[in-house]
Symmetry: C2
Subunit: 322 residues, 2 copies
């Protein structure tokens, strides 16, 4: 993995993925006590950064692979990103989703033309199911994070952060990234290394699912006790990826961990001060910026809102904090 792979992905994505805005508000700055620059990936096509990696991966396939089709497993955001990228390339798509994924994500994935296969997150392995169906049907598996082209696609978000932060006068800051398997975190870290070396990426996870923070601290792959049931469905991966972890080890600062209530409060803050809809897993980085400021240094902090695909009932719970 190097920056050339990311800039190549950026060339293929141009005109397909959105250059999402880096937003600042007086209200969030006042809460955090420093400038808070929010990379609004909830405004990305399909509602999360995952379209970047999906497009990068599908657009890198050869003709035979595209004709045969692709398969992906996902709690919902990677599902939609791959489904749309596949449809736009004329490739069939099978998406394996947990049966407890948000209803809106399952419906949206089907609406994008994909065949959805549901599995039980607690008792079945999505990796095994994915490998079996891929092999049976000759599909190309597009893993959600441990895939070089996917990491490169997510890294295009980091290219934008680097240039947008510079335009806003910020060259030294922590970049807090909502972290599941580490595709977005590693991708942004690689882009910042090349384009904005004063920006330091730090993964943010919810309590109970802080495998990356613990792995970075211990120097080895730590595994979460729980693998299902948390509110932050988008980022409940058991352990950092084989490809993403070494990148994060080399480039990232210490991880941050927030409570589910803090994620909900960050969703409420994004509603009140940015008019943005964030999902719980997409709000953990903003939660760290707002509520763990004592672990952050500097006059400014950058954070991703990595997705906004949330069921209304969960969103109402967040609004109750206002």
């Amino acid at each position: 993995m190097d920056i050339t792979r990311i800039t190549n992905a950026a060339s293929r994505i141009a005109g397909q993925a959105r250059v999402t805005p880096l937003l600042e508000s007086h209200g969030l700055n006042a809460i955090a006590g420093r400038r808070v620059l929010v990379k609004a990936e909830c405004l990305q096509v399909t509602g999360s950064f995952k379209f970047r990696g999906g497009w990068a991966a599908v657009s890198a396939l050869n003709d035979a692979q595209r004709t045969a089709g692709v398969i992906a497993y996902s709690s919902g955001n990677h599902a939609q990103g791959v489904a749309l990228a596949a449809r736009e390339h004329g490739a069939p798509a099978v998406i394996i989703m947990p049966s407890d994924a948000p209803a809106a994500k399952i419906a949206a994935t089907r609406a994008l033309g994909a065949e959805v296969v549901l599995y039980d997150r607690a008792s079945e392995s999505r990796e095994e199911i994915g490998d079996r169906i891929a092999s049976d049907r000759g599909l190309t598996l597009i893993r959600p994070f441990d895939e070089p082209e996917v990491i490169a696609g997510q890294g295009t978000c980091g290219l934008e952060i680097a240039s947008q932060a510079a335009e806003m006068g910020v060259s030294e800051a922590d970049v807090l990234v909502c972290c599941g398997g580490g595709g977005l975190t590693a991708g942004i870290a690689l882009s910042c290394e090349a384009k904005a070396p004063g920006l330091r990426v730090r993964p943010v996870e919810p309590e109970g699912y802080d495998d990356t923070a613990r792995s970075l601290a211990s120097g080895q792959h730590e595994v979460n006790a729980a693998s299902a049931g948390g509110l932050c469905d988008a980022i409940l991966t058991p352990s950092p990826g084989a490809l993403t972890f070494p990148i994060m080890q080399r480039l990232c600062g210490p991880g941050l961990v927030v409570s589910e209530e803090q994620a909900l409060r960050a969703m409420a803050a994004a509603f009140a001060h940015l008019n943005l809809v964030a999902e719980p897993g997409g709000a953990v980085a903003l939660a760290a910026a707002l509520f763990h400021g004592n672990q952050i240094k500097g006059d400014a902090v950058i954070c991703t809102i990595s997705g906004g695909n949330v069921d209304p009932e969960i969103f109402k719970r967040a609004l109750d904090f206002l």
Copy 2:
């Protein structure tokens, strides 16, 4: 009023107001049966397009006027736009707001450093109160729409629509604009006349407050029976402005009228498909695009989400339609 005044305002606003994105989603296109391009002014600084007009007006004052300060009357969005523009120019600001304005808007206006004076929308005239305080304190009154620099500032939104729509391949379409007194509608219409003559602006209003639609139909200033109490607080003006109406008469197509329920359903659609927070008055144009398609021609329609400053309880009512 001509395009030069708008392009001059655009020069003063550059780097202060955001160039808000023109967003498209598969989900909204599917509901409407045509392309729907959404100008997301809810992402503007202070959460609505009103910051454009506020900045344009305050930045046009001379030093003595700035030192003395400004006054504005507003249900909340113009309030915040003027309050922030004044603060950034070092000018004191008095804002006259109806006592039934959304609590979030009153709080946000105070947080921006303005002195807020509340009045009763049903029994008092904000114009009279504004004129009296302005005269007593030597403040410059910045009217919410019937003010050339304010119209010019709102028109900068139309300059962006013209260039962004062209980039997205749309040169012939109706541009549906959420309409109160007509400042945004007239401003966008002037910009489209000069920069994108294939785009035709049409005002959109809520039922019971459709003074502009009726005025355009009759050719004279019609007045709403009610002046308070509607859900779409941002756009409950009694009659089109003296400056804005002739511009709209010359340039705009017929007005559209939506129900409050349709506005709430449009808010729900913006939540589900764009991850955006729209307020009721800021959602009427999207409501017309989604639910009054039989009154619109062409393969594409453009609409503003003109603001997103909504109290959580109202937003929850919208989410109940999902």
